[in-house]
């Protein structure tokens, strides 16, 4: 299937989706919050069988998190980003771990670093950070330098080499 055929199918199914074409091998779809999981499932049906990653973008001025599903199709040699904006104060989105098993791990990662809740994913334990007590570190309002200065920066003169 060519790129324009895929896009026309998507427009048919999701008339409100905003589609942005980067080049002939890559495009992105921005859908409504409620349509996000349906759109990802629909893309899987269109042979986009590889979920490369789930990630999030913090748009702090808009008060939104943008969840990005990065999918790839070996059949069409196309890459697609399915994007959706969710509320930043109470970030919640349906889990897609029933579509791809690996999505569970990516959701754990996004949950740890952005604090986004994935409804339906029962295993959102901390994954990478050691004993993290502060707010999720990838949020824009987390001051990494202040944290580092406070925890690691107070060089102790006594007895150290």
């Amino acid at each position: 299937m060519k790129q324009n055929e895929i896009i026309s199918k998507i427009i048919e199914r999701f008339p409100s989706a905003v589609i942005l074409i980067t080049d002939d091998k890559q495009f992105s779809i921005t859908v409504d919050e409620n349509d996000a999981v349906t759109a990802v499932a629909y893309m899987q049906m269109l042979d986009f069988k590889q979920l490369a990653i789930i990630t999030a973008v913090d748009w702090i001025e808009k008060g939104k998190f943008e969840i990005v599903y990065n999918l790839f199709s070996y059949e069409h040699l196309q890459q697609v980003f399915v994007k959706t904006l969710i509320d930043r104060k109470n970030p919640k989105i349906q889990s897609i771990s029933n579509l791809w098993e690996v999505a569970g791990m990516y959701e754990r990662d996004v949950h740890e670093f952005f604090g986004v809740e994935f409804v339906g994913n029962n295993d959102l334990r901390p994954l990478i950070l050691h004993n993290w007590q502060d707010k999720p570190p990838m949020r824009k309002d987390f001051d990494s330098e202040a944290y580092s200065n406070k925890v690691f920066g107070n060089f102790k003169k006594e007895k150290a080499l």
Partner: protein, 190 residues
């Protein structure tokens, strides 16, 4: 050559003799934490040939003399490095590579990378640079050998003597129970 007087032997005991042999057969634990690990293969293999100094890689901490912190050290691997260091039999030495274990380097503002290794473990020698070239590493190794010979590289003794101070610093980072940036948490509840 082993140069020692009978006075030296009387003052320092057998360690003078032992240190001579120790410096000639350093086995380093190949535990790579950061980007500096990529400088070690050329150092070990034929181009710079580390083995002419009697040094070689060792797979387990129980048989190693030398621990290399090759680059930045995250909090998570700090815990493993402490386990590893404490498993190594004495005498043992620790070398910090690059600028990251000295003052944080380019990760000075990172939330997950420690800034100064010397607060958590006794560093015998720091090799500066980002990253140090194999020549600098070899230079560092020869310096370490000299200071072992003189009996100056005694980080493991310092660790034993100041064990509580080191443990306190380690616990500050590893076993925190409350958020660090408190005022920001208060902002969120408003």
């Amino acid at each position: 050559m082993l140069l020692t007087s009978s006075k030296d032997l009387k003052d320092k005991g057998l360690d003078v003799v032992l240190d001579f042999f120790r410096k000639k057969s350093l086995w380093m634990l190949h535990y790579c934490t950061g980007c500096g690990a990529i400088e070690l293969p050329p150092t070990m293999t034929s181009r710079w040939d580390m083995e002419r100094f009697g040094m070689g890689p060792m797979a387990t901490p129980r048989q190693a003399d030398l621990l290399l912190i090759t680059g930045y050290l995250s909090v998570k691997s700090l815990k493993r490095v402490i386990y590893t260091y404490e498993q190594m039999p004495e005498p043992k030495w620790l070398i910090a590579f690059g600028s990251c274990p000295i003052n944080g380097g380019i990760y000075y503002d990172s939330y997950s990378v420690i800034n100064r290794l010397a607060e958590y473990l006794p560093v015998d020698l720091s090799i500066e640079g980002c990253m140090p070239r194999p020549e600098a590493i070899i230079d560092g190794f020869t310096k370490l050998m000299k200071s072992i010979d003189k009996g100056e590289a005694v980080g493991y003794k310092r660790y034993r003597e100041n064990y509580e101070w080191y443990k306190k610093n380690q616990a500050e980072v590893l076993e925190r129970t409350s958020p660090v940036l408190k005022e920001e948490v208060a902002d969120e509840t408003k």
